[in-house]
């Protein structure tokens, strides 16, 4: 209740504010709050992911963008009357729709009675993984997850196609400026990170492989990995980071992640099952499921990490170039 109240306030604040930097920060907080709200609703995995993405990556990307595109929004919103009308109609329709909904948290809602029980009751025998979310994610609806990985891969390729500069001079003058701007914003971060990075990597590995038992899994792990690398590059400058992690390699990794996931499916076809039917990966179905999920999560982690890095590098890189050009013109 309270959390929701906060959320509303923040949202309204975002509407009013013209300072994009503040807006972005607020949206980050919005993500964080909704994450904590997810926790109260027992959705730990989702909370984890939302925290990592909504509060983390998304905010970061927006910040980079804002540093380049300028800090203030100087257009009064046009056509706001129409917009308001549309929004009101939609909203009223939705409210109208809620009237016949089963009450919040009710035990006998159809959603609780039809498909879900099978997951809750049988997943232990069928998959043997305590974290039901993981087993649904990676096995029952594994194909959705493959799609998800492809989506993130698509985003990576798209960003590459849009932003990867044709030629990037290795002069660091531009980078400094970027880092300076970053340091101003993440002062604490800079101090803490140096110590943090190894722990972060360790934690990422734990999340990656512990996903079967507790909250976590390939996606969250991937994001954390990426976070570590990004922090590193922010401290030691883009070019240094690029020297450590070469672009072609990282692109290759992002592709390989998808392929790993896919090939698991293909192998299970070759073993005479349906696509992504892990039972046939080993003689014992449960063991097969374990193996399958492990590999799949690896694939996810691999792709997510590399794509996140790709996206960030290109965003930052583009900003550098832009600033360098501006300084030239100035």
């Amino acid at each position: 209740m309270v959390l929701l109240g906060f959320l509303v306030c923040i949202a309204i604040a975002i509407v009013r504010l013209k300072d994009l930097f503040a807006v972005v920060m607020l949206s980050g907080i919005y993500g964080l709050l909704s994450a904590s709200f997810f926790v109260t609703l027992d959705a730990v995995d989702v909370a984890f992911t939302e925290a990592a993405v909504g509060a983390g990556i998304a905010t970061l990307l927006m910040l980079v963008t804002v540093t380049m595109t300028g800090r203030y929004e100087h257009s009064a919103h046009h056509n706001s009357i129409w917009a308001l009308a549309v929004v009101l109609v939609t909203g009223v329709l939705l409210i109208y729709g809620t009237l016949d909904m089963p009450y919040f948290g009710s035990v006998d809602a159809p959603a609780q009675l039809h498909v879900a029980p099978r997951y809750i009751n049988n997943s232990m025998q069928e998959i043997g993984v305590p974290n039901i979310v993981t087993s649904v994610l990676a096995s029952y609806r594994g194909y959705d997850t493959l799609g998800e990985v492809v989506v993130i891969f698509t985003a990576g390729v798209g960003v590459l196609a849009l932003l990867s500069a044709v030629h990037r001079p290795e002069k660091d003058d531009g980078i400094v400026s970027v880092n300076v701007s970053m340091h101003e914003k993440y002062l604490i971060l800079r101090v803490v990170t140096k110590i943090l990075i190894p722990f972060i990597l360790l934690f990422a590995l734990y999340v990656q492989f512990h996903g079967d038992y507790g909250p976590g899994g390939g996606f969250q792990a991937g994001v954390i990995f990426a976070a570590a690398i990004i922090l590193y590059s922010m401290l030691f400058g883009m070019s240094t980071a690029r020297r450590v992690i070469s672009q072609p390699l990282i692109q290759l990794l992002s592709a390989i992640g998808v392929l790993v996931y896919g090939s698991v499916g293909v192998v299970s076809i070759l073993n005479g099952g349906n696509f992504l039917d892990y039972n046939l990966l080993s003689d014992d179905p449960v063991a097969g499921q374990h193996l399958g999920i492990l590999l799949v999560e690896l694939g996810i982690g691999c792709t997510v990490t590399s794509v996140m890095v790709i996206i960030f590098f290109n965003f930052a890189g583009r900003t550098e170039d832009h600033m360098r050009n501006e300084r030239k013109s100035a």
Partner: protein, 117 residues
């Protein structure tokens, strides 16, 4: 009635705020922020659906028999990824537009575009 549904209503309000930002604001980055809020609110809605009184997180453990519905969680995990993907692409486009048109305000860009036509 109110107690049963207030949570959905607030979610609806959140969604609509996000939606409003998308269509009413001219700043490209702000539109993306709006999109984020809109989608996040939809996520909240899904998770609310999955919630169940006296339930616990869907991680099997001794002593629990009421788990909240794992399916929406899975769906939303996917949806979050889709969201970040869209955001990334949108922001990338915004950067390119800034480079190409020197602005990220809808009206200014529209003017320049019309001039070209």
């Amino acid at each position: 009635m109110f107690l049963g549904l207030y949570n959905y209503w607030i979610v609806v309000v959140l969604m609509m705020i996000g939606f409003y930002i998308i269509i009413a604001h001219g700043n490209l980055v702000k539109k993306i922020v709006g999109l984020n809020i809109f989608q996040t609110s939809v996520f909240i809605f899904y998770i609310s659906v999955s919630n169940i009184d006296g339930g616990t997180a869907p991680i099997l453990a001794e002593g629990f028999n009421q788990y909240s519905n794992p399916l929406p969680h899975v769906l939303i995990l996917t949806a979050i990824v889709v969201g970040i993907a869209t955001t990334a692409l949108g922001l990338a486009l915004a950067m390119r537009i800034k480079e190409a048109y020197g602005s990220i305000e809808e009206e200014e860009i529209q003017q320049r575009v019309n001039r070209e036509c």
